[in-house]
C-alpha cells in the first residue's frame, strides 16, 4: 500500500476513522515515474495535515515535506518531487492500520490492507 492510498483510506462505517495510524513491520521504497501534473492535482484531494502526521511516523520520509503546502505548489518542482516520493514511492508491505476512533486493527499483508 502506497501512502497516497493511505491518505484516502478510512475505517469503514465510522465518522472519524481517519487517518489510520500505521504500525510498520516492513516497508519498501520503490520507483515510480514522476508526473508533476498528477501530483499537483492530488494536492487538492489530500488531507495534508494527516499526511504530515503519517510522514512524521515513518523514519524513511520523516521531515521531507514542508509544514504547509507552498502557495505556488503547482510550479514548485522541489515540493512536487518530495510529495511524489512520499505518495507513490513508499510501500507498506507488512504491518497494521489502527482506527483512531475505535482502535480496531486492520492487518496489512503482502502490501494489501484488509478492511474486512
Amino acid at each position: 500500500m502506497k501512502l497516497i492510498t493511505h491518505n484516502m483510506l478510512m475505517s469503514p462505517g465510522t465518522r472519524n476513522g481517519f487517518p489510520l495510524a500505521i504500525e510498520v513491520e516492513s516497508l519498501e521504497e520503490v520507483e515510480a515515474d514522476f508526473n508533476p501534473e498528477f501530483i499537483a492535482r492530488m494536492v487538492e484531494k489530500l488531507d495534508y495535515p494527516a499526511l504530515l502526521q503519517t510522514v512524521a511516523s515513518l523514519s524513511v520520509v520523516e521531515g521531507t515535506l514542508p509544514p504547509q503546502v507552498p502557495e505556488k505548489y503547482a510550479e514548485d518542482e522541489e515540493f512536487l518531487k518530495a510529495l511524489h516520493h512520499v505518495l507513490l514511492e513508499v510501500e507498506i508491505v507488512e504491518g497494521s492500520l489502527v482506527c483512531p476512533e475505535t482502535a480496531r486493527k486492520f492487518p496489512i499483508k503482502e502490501g494489501i490492507p484488509s478492511m474486512l
Binding site: 484516502m8 469503514p12 462505517g13 508526473n35 502490501g111 494489501i112 474486512l116
Partner: protein
C-alpha cells in the same frame, strides 16, 4: 438441484469462496476472459467521460486480478482496487499491476474519505450483492451501504460506470433503485440489446451535479437504431427509445495479454475510435508511456 445444475456462480458459493485460487488462475491464462474484462473496462472508462489529457484517480470495485485496472493504466490513470477475494488480489499482484489493492467486502461499504476519486468503474461484480450468503446478509441493505459509500468517496460531478450481470428483471430493478436512492443520477445503458450473448448492462451514475450538461452515453449495438437507453432518474425505469444512431463497429479485437501496448498502438486505436465518433481522451505525453512497475 445439484450444484452442477446451477449455472450462475453467484448461486453456487459466496464470492470469496467462488473466487478461489483455481478460479483466479483462469484470469491469468484464459484469453477469452482476459479479453472480455479488458473490453468492458475500456467501455466503462469511455463512459466515465473524464476530462481529456489528465490522469485521474479512479476506483475499481471488484477489481479482482486487475485486468480491468490494467485497462485504466493504459490510459495513464492511477487506480485503487477493492475486492473481497484474497486469491484474486494475489493474482493481481503476480500480474504486477500498478494500482493499490484493498481487501474489503463492498457490501460493508467503500473504506474511503469523502470526495477523493475522480471516477469509479466496476466490471461484473455488483450482482454479487443481490445474494444473501449469510443470515445477516440483507441484499437491500448491503446494496444501500455500497452505493451510499460509493457516492460519498466520489468527487462531486464524478461518474461511476458499473457493468453487471443481473439474473433477472427484479435484480436489475433492485440494483438500479438502490443506486438512485443513494442520491445518484444517471441510469442504465444497455449495449447490444438485441444480442443475448453480447448484451451488456452498464449503470452510468453521476454523483452530484454534473460539471457540464450531463448526457447519457449512447449504447452500442450492432445495427442502426438499435440503441436502448433506460433512463432511471425516476426509479420506475421508463424506457426511452433513441431513434437514430451511428453504426458502431467495435475497434479490432484487443491483442492478447503480454503484448505491450506501445504509444503508436494506442494512438492508432484512439484515432479509429474518434473516427467512429466515440468519446476518446486527448492524447497526452503519458499515452502509451512505459511506466515502472512496483515490486514487492
Amino acid at each position: 438441484m445439484s450444484m452442477s445444475h446451477r449455472s450462475r456462480p453467484e448461486e453456487q458459493a459466496p464470492p470469496d469462496v467462488f473466487y478461489n485460487q483455481a478460479e483466479a488462475e483462469k484470469y491469468l491464462h484464459n484469453s477469452r476472459m482476459i479479453e472480455v474484462q479488458a473490453q468492458m473496462a475500456e467501455r466503462a472508462l469511455e463512459m466515465l467521460c473524464l476530462p481529456e489529457d489528465e490522469s485521474a484517480l479512479l476506483l475499481d470495485v471488484g477489481c479482482g486480478t486487475g485486468l480491468s485496472g490494467e485497462a485504466l493504466e493504459e490510459y495513464g490513470h492511477t487506480w485503487v482496487g477493492v475486492d473481497i477475494s484474497r486469491d484474486m488480489l494475489g493474482v493481481a499482484q503476480r500480474r504486477e499491476v500498478e494500482g493499490d489493492l484493498v481487501h474489503q467486502d463492498m457490501g460493508l461499504g467503500m473504506p474511503f474519505r469523502q470526495g477523493v476519486f475522480d471516477g469509479a468503474i466496476s466490471i461484473s461484480a455488483v450482482q454479487w450483492l443481490c445474494y444473501s450468503d449469510r443470515n445477516e446478509h440483507v441484499p437491500r441493505l448491503r446494496l444501500h451501504r455500497f452505493f451510499q459509500s460509493l457516492y460519498k468517496c466520489l468527487r462531486r460531478g464524478a461518474r461511476a460506470v458499473l457493468q453487471f450481470y443481473p439474473q433477472d428483471a427484479e435484480q436489475l430493478q433492485l440494483i438500479t433503485a438502490s443506486a438512485m436512492r443513494a442520491g445518484f443520477g444517471g441510469g442504465l445503458v444497455v449495449d447490444f440489446p438485441h444480442s443475448s450473448k453480447a448484451k451488456k448492462y452498464f449503470l452510468v451514475l453521476l454523483a452530484g451535479l454534473p460539471d457540464e450538461g450531463f448526457s447519457m452515453p449512447q449504447a452500442l449495438g450492432e445495427e442502426i437504431a438499435a440503441t436502448q437507453v433506460q433512463q432511471t432518474a425516476a426509479v420506475n425505469m421508463e424506457r426511452k427509445q433513441h431513434a437514430k444512431r451511428q453504426i458502431d463497429r467495435r475497434p479490432g479485437k484487443r491483442s492478447s495479454k503480454g503484448v505491450t501496448k506501445d504509444r503508436e498502438w494506442i494512438m492508432k486505436k484512439k484515432h479509429s475510435q474518434r473516427r467512429q465518433g466515440k468519446e476518446v481522451c486527448n492524447d497526452s505525453k503519458y499515452s502509451g508511456r512505459k511506466r515502472s512497475k512496483v515490486r514487492f
